[in-house]
Structures are given as structure tokens and as C-alpha cells.
């Protein structure tokens, strides 16, 4: 049984295919705005459009100042955006950002001289000064371009809100012209922004809004979270607030200062839009975090559900004994897992095809199911090798092909001939074993380095003789570690001293050894005792 748990990404996440399509649309719109701007600029230089009668037409007279500014703005939007041919040339992006900032400054200049009634400062007195609304458009979009092109989410958000607001205002003006009533677009004071200026602004606003769709307002709007729902429900009405209020103000003038009312409408719309954007993003981020936490918890729970039977089953196969027909010998193994789960210890005691007894103890570095599986594999390879007739030392030397670059293991391989008691033991960096005889308990020191350390290692064996009553005790470092001391000796030495004159059956000896070890280990504890009966 498998489960899939979907968690939201770091952002609400827009479908990559949709994001690509939106980005392409943004590029197309910005390119259109630029072409249209150049066309309008040409109209300034070559007065071909001057012949066209005034009215709701696409191209009519545009005063030079606003024409130049909007053209620069369009080109800036194009350069600062993500035009594929320009992506490799960062300098164009920087040029675009710089130009857009200059345009924004120019917008401020226009607003200031208009409010201060100092039109004489710009273009002399012979040409109509650009409208106040053009100043606002230049300022808003000139700032929105560098913000939206940023990689910082909050800046992208602010830039897109600015672009949307400009879109809202200029769309109203454009519609006013389209319906043959330019006065609808008469923001604040005369003169109004012209039709091609409003169309350009709308195009630039859309193009800028489609910068970075994956981390801007669109990503939140497409979110299944609470913020996404809120934005989808209230975003369009809020966006229309300035437009609706301007229409109302124009249609039902309640005072001579109708422009003041329009100003309030626009300001209110801006505040509402910014508030909505900030609030929905905050709500959505919270929803994302909650959903992500829940998904992580669910994954962990499923992981536990899936791994628990595996771990439980692993524990059953980590230590195997199959020596039923070895008369005169008894075997005991003990295993105590470290840290409440399986780790890298595995052991096996089996009667081999030639009648001898094979004993293998492996300790792979690491904890968890993965090293446990590796330990079982290495143990079985070693057992199989000696079953095929290899000596313990050769089995060690040949198992290296099974190495993985990130794995190390200590191991003991032993073959015992039951009829004679002669044993051959090879140890790869494993803690000493203890040979318990009638008089002594001696440490059997490792004969070679850790497995998988050096592929050229040729291991050696030591020969032991187990007389009647003698036992060989193998254990992992979780039981007794050469670095730790007990009673003034290293732990293996202290353990050996404890086992002198131990004559009990294998199970009793194994219990004694396990009793010596820490009852709450941080590492796996494995004990294997093989005793020749009296």
C-alpha cells in the first residue's frame, strides 16, 4: 500500500506550464506596448497623424513630453523584463531598470510642476503640458517595473499592485474615449491623457503585472488556501473601485470639486488594493505553513506505518542460528538494539555443507533499516563464502566487491570443526573475541582492518582449539568497547576477567555477557556464544 501526500511548495505555486504561458503573454504585451510607443513617437516627429480628425481613434495627437516618456517607459519594461534574447545580457536589464526609474522621476516632476502651476518649466508655453494623469502613470509604472522585476517577493507584490492600479485608472480613461466621451477620462484637472497614452499604459501595466507570475499576486490568486479564495472573491471588485467611483463622480457631480472626489476614490482604491494584497498573502503564507506542517506530519506517520513492519521483520532476520545437528555444541545469541530500533549488527551461526559450523558477526556503521539490510547482506555473503569452502580470511578478502563508498563494517568470520574443536577465525577490525577455557579467558585480537576500508587488503586467520567445556564469545562494540574502562581495565579485558572459570551452558554465558553491558545502550549489542560441551 502506498500513500502520496501532496504538500504546497514554498509558494502557493503556479502550474509551471501556466506560468510559462503567462510569462510569454507578458513578453508579447510588453513588446506590443513598445512597438505602439515607437509608432506614437514617430507620429510626433512626422506629423502624419496630425491629419487624423480628433475623436475616439487609436492614434491621435500626443504631446511630445508624454509621448517621449511613455516610449521610454515601454522600452524600459521590455528591457527590464525577461525577453529571452536579452536574458544573457544583464546590462540590458540594468539599462531597463535605470530608464524606468528616470521615467518615474519624470512623472514626479510633472506632478509637482502641475500642482505648483509651473507649466512654464517644461516644454515652454507653446506646447500643452502633459496631463497630471500622465505624471501619475509614469510615476506608478516607472516604480512598478524595477519592483516587479525583482527577485524579492514583497517587492514583486508591491510592483504588481502598482501596475494593477495603473491598469485600473488608465483602463477607465481608455473606455471613456472608446465610448466617445473623453471627459470620463478627465482625471483631476485638464488636460486629459490621450487615447494612445492610455492604451500604452494599459499594455505596459499588463506586461509588468506578468513579470514573475510564480511569486506575485497570481501565485496567491491561484492558491487553494484561504488567501487565494479571498483574492479571487474580492480582488476584482476592489480593482474596480477607482473606476466605479470615477464614473459615479463624473456622472453625478455633486460639487465643483468633482476631481477631489475622484482623487479620494483613487486613493481609496489604492489603499484597498494594497491592503487586500498584503492580507491575502499573509493569510496564504499561514495556510501554506499549516498545510506543509500537516503534510510533513502525515508523511512521517505513513513512513512509520510503512517502516514499522519492515523494522520488526528485520529484527527477526538479523540474528539467525541453524545448528540443530551439531552434537556436543551449544549456541546462544543475544541481541539488544540501540536507540530503540535496529542498527547495523547482524549475526549468523549455521551448519555448513561440510559439517563444520560457520559463525559470522557483522557490524555496519550507522543506525536504521538501511544499515541493517546491508549487515544482513554482508553476513549472508560471508556465510555463503565459507559454505563454498573459502577460508574465513579469504571470505573477508573477497567480500570487498560488495563495498559501497559510504559504508564501513567490522566483522568476524569463524569456522569450527565440531569433531575436533579446531577453529579458524578472521576478524576485520572487530572488537576482540574471548576464548574461555578451563583455566583462562583470553582475548583474541583482530587480524585485519575494517571491511571496505582498503580493497587490496588480504586478511589473515588465527587458529584456535576449543577443548571440551571451552567457549568462544563474540560480541559487538556496544557490549564492550576497547575505549571504555571498567575496574581499571578496558571493557573487553574486564569482561574476559569476569568469564574466567565460567563453565555454564552457552545461554547462561550469553546472559552473563549481556548483563555486563549497558542496559540502555546507544549502540546495538550482539553476543554470540559457541560452547563445546564437556
Amino acid at each position: 500500500m502506498s500513500h502520496e501526500v501532496a504538500a504546497p511548495g514554498p509558494h502557493t505555486g503556479i502550474d509551471p506550464a501556466l506560468e510559462a504561458r503567462l510569462g510569454a503573454l507578458g513578453r508579447l504585451v510588453r513588446l506590443s506596448a513598445t512597438l505602439f510607443s515607437v509608432l506614437a513617437l514617430l507620429g510626433l516627429v512626422f506629423p502624419v497623424f496630425a491629419e487624423i480628425p480628433p475623436g475616439p481613434v487609436l492614434v491621435r495627437h500626443l504631446d511630445p513630453a508624454s509621448g517621449l516618456s511613455l516610449t521610454a517607459l515601454s522600452i524600459a519594461a521590455l528591457l527590464a523584463g525577461t525577453m529571452t534574447p536579452m536574458r544573457r545580457r544583464r546590462v540590458w536589464r540594468r539599462v531597463g531598470l535605470a530608464v524606468s526609474l528616470l521615467v518615474a522621476l519624470f512623472g514626479v516632476f510633472i506632478i509637482v510642476i502641475f500642482l505648483g502651476d509651473r507649466r512654464d518649466l517644461w516644454w515652454g508655453l507653446t506646447v500643452e503640458i502633459p496631463a497630471f494623469s500622465v505624471g501619475i502613470v509614469l510615476f506608478a509604472l516607472g516604480l512598478a517595473i524595477p519592483l516587479s522585476a525583482s527577485r524579492v517577493e514583497s517587492r514583486v507584490l508591491a510592483g504588481q499592485v502598482g501596475a494593477l492600479l495603473t491598469f485600473s485608472l488608465t483602463a477607465v480613461i481608455f473606455l471613456g474615449y472608446a465610448y466617445g466621451d473623453p471627459s470620463v477620462g478627465r482625471l483631476f484637472l485638464q488636460p486629459a491623457i490621450s487615447v494612445q497614452a492610455s492604451l500604452m499604459s494599459v499594455l505596459i501595466a499588463i506586461g509588468v503585472f506578468l513579470f514573475r507570475p510564480s511569486i506575485g499576486l497570481l501565485s496567491t490568486a491561484s492558491s487553494p488556501g484561504a488567501g487565494g479564495k479571498l483574492l479571487r472573491r474580492f480582488g476584482p471588485p476592489v480593482l474596480l473601485v477607482p473606476a466605479v467611483l470615477i464614473f459615479v463622480a463624473e456622472a453625478f457631480p455633486t460639487s465643483e470639486r468633482v476631481d477631489a472626489l475622484a482623487f479620494i476614490a483613487v486613493g481609496l482604491g489604492l489603499v484597498l488594493l494594497v491592503l487586500l494584497a498584503v492580507v491575502v498573502r499573509a493569510i496564504d503564507q499561514t495556510a501554506i505553513e499549516a498545510a506543509t506542517s500537516a503534510a510533513h506530519a502525515e508523511r512521517a506517520r505513513i513512513g512509520l506505518e510503512q517502516e514499522a513492519p519492515v523494522v520488526s521483520r528485520l529484527a527477526e532476520v538479523l540474528h539467525v542460528v541453524s545448528v540443530d545437528d551439531a552434537e556436543g555444541w551449544d549456541v546462544a545469541t543475544r541481541f539488544r538494539p540501540g536507540r530503540g530500533s535496529v542498527a547495523g549488527d547482524a549475526s549468523g551461526v549455521r551448519t555448513l555443507p561440510d559439517g563444520s559450523i560457520g559463525v559470522v558477526l557483522v557490524d555496519i556503521t550507522g543506525h536504521g533499516a538501511e544499515p541493517a539490510i546491508r549487515a544482513v547482506a554482508v553476513r549472508d555473503l560471508l556465510l555463503h563464502s565459507i559454505a563454498l569452502g573459502l577460508s574465513p580470511a579469504d571470505a573477508m578478502s573477497r567480500v570487498h566487491w560488495h563495498a559501497r563508498p559510504d559504508s564501513l563494517a567490522s566483522a568476524i568470520v569463524m569456522r569450527v570443526v565440531p569433531s575436533t574443536g579446531s577453529a579458524e577465525l578472521s576478524s576485520a577490525g572487530h572488537p576482540p573475541s574471548i576464548l574461555v577455557t578451563s583455566q583462562t579467558a583470553k582475548l583474541v585480537i583482530p587480524t585485519g582492518p575494517l571491511l571496505f576500508l582498503d580493497p587490496s587488503t588480504e586478511y589473515e586467520s588465527v587458529n584456535l582449539e576449543l577443548g571440551p567445556g571451552d567457549a568462544i564469545v563474540l560480541f559487538s562494540d556496544g557490549v564492550a568497547d576497547v575505549q571504555r574502562s571498567a575496574n581499571g581495565r578496558t571493557e573487553p579485558e574486564a569482561l574476559a576477567a569476569m568469564l574466567v572459570a565460567e563453565r555454564g551452558v552457552a545461554t547462561r554465558t550469553a546472559d552473563l555477557v549481556l548483563g555486563f553491558a549497558d542496559a540502555e545502550p546507544s549502540d546495538d549489542q550482539t553476543v554470540v556464544v559457541l560452547r563445546r560441551s564437556l
Binding site: 536507540r339 557490524d363 556503521t365 550507522g366 543506525h367 563508498p405 559510504d406 564501513l408 567490522s410 576485520a428 577490525g429 572488537p431 576482540p432 585480537i445 583482530p446 585485519g448 582492518p449 575494517l450 576500508l453 582498503d454 562494540d477 568497547d481 576497547v482 575505549q483 571504555r484 574502562s485 578496558t490 546507544s522 549502540d523
Partner: protein
């Protein structure tokens, strides 16, 4: 989580950096040692000696971390050594047969 080891980094020469470890190196603390060693690997082109003379115990995960670090430094053409005098960790290094694979010196100054 409070770490059970402390790691101090010092510059021995233009070529050698030393990190001195105190405390017990085991599964819970080996990550800190790994991070410190990788930091040296990432920082420049110097060789590293890990001074374990202030450390009282190291389990097999610590031993593995040292061997893997030795391979990473060796792969980068840089020196790697472990400083451990006589003591518990020295016994582990002897019994595990690692002394032939790692450059083991008595004290960090011996690498020069």
C-alpha cells in the same frame, strides 16, 4: 539539541588547519564533526588535522566520518591527518586497523 562536543578551529601554518575536538564523538555528535571538517574543505585549499587528544571516546560512526573525510581531502589533493596520542581512541584506531589507512600523528604539531 545541545551538542556533546566542542570543536575549536585554528590555523597551524599556511598549509595546515587544525580542529581540536573535545567530548565524546558518537551518533549524536558526529554531525558536528562532519560539518566542521566540510567547512575546512569548502573554505580553501588547506590541509586538515583533526586533533582528538581532548576526546575520550569515539564510536564507529566517528571513525567512519574520519575515513570519509580523509577520502574527500585526498580526492581534492589535500592532506588529512588525525592527531591522537596514547589513549582510548588510539586503541580503537589500532584494533580497527585504520592506522594503515589514515595518517595518524601524536599531536597536531607533528603534521608539520
Amino acid at each position: 539539541m545541545v551538542s556533546g562536543i566542542t570543536i575549536e578551529r585554528s590555523k597551524l601554518t599556511e598549509e595546515w588547519i587544525a580542529i581540536a575536538v573535545t567530548g565524546e564523538i558518537d551518533l549524536a555528535t558526529v554531525g558536528d564533526l562532519d560539518t566542521a571538517m566540510d567547512q575546512v574543505l569548502a573554505d580553501g585549499d588547506q590541509s586538515l588535522v583533526v586533533d582528538l587528544n581532548g576526546s575520550s571516546f569515539m564510536d564507529s560512526t566517528g571513525l567512519k566520518a574520519l575515513i570519509m573525510a580523509d577520502r574527500r581531502f585526498g580526492g581534492a589533493g589535500r592532506g588529512f591527518a588525525v592527531a591522537v596520542g596514547s589513549g582510548p581512541i588510539s586503541r580503537l584506531i589500532d584494533l580497527s586497523g585504520v592506522r594503515g589507512s589514515l595518517r595518524v600523528v601524536d599531536s597536531a604539531d607533528d603534521v608539520m
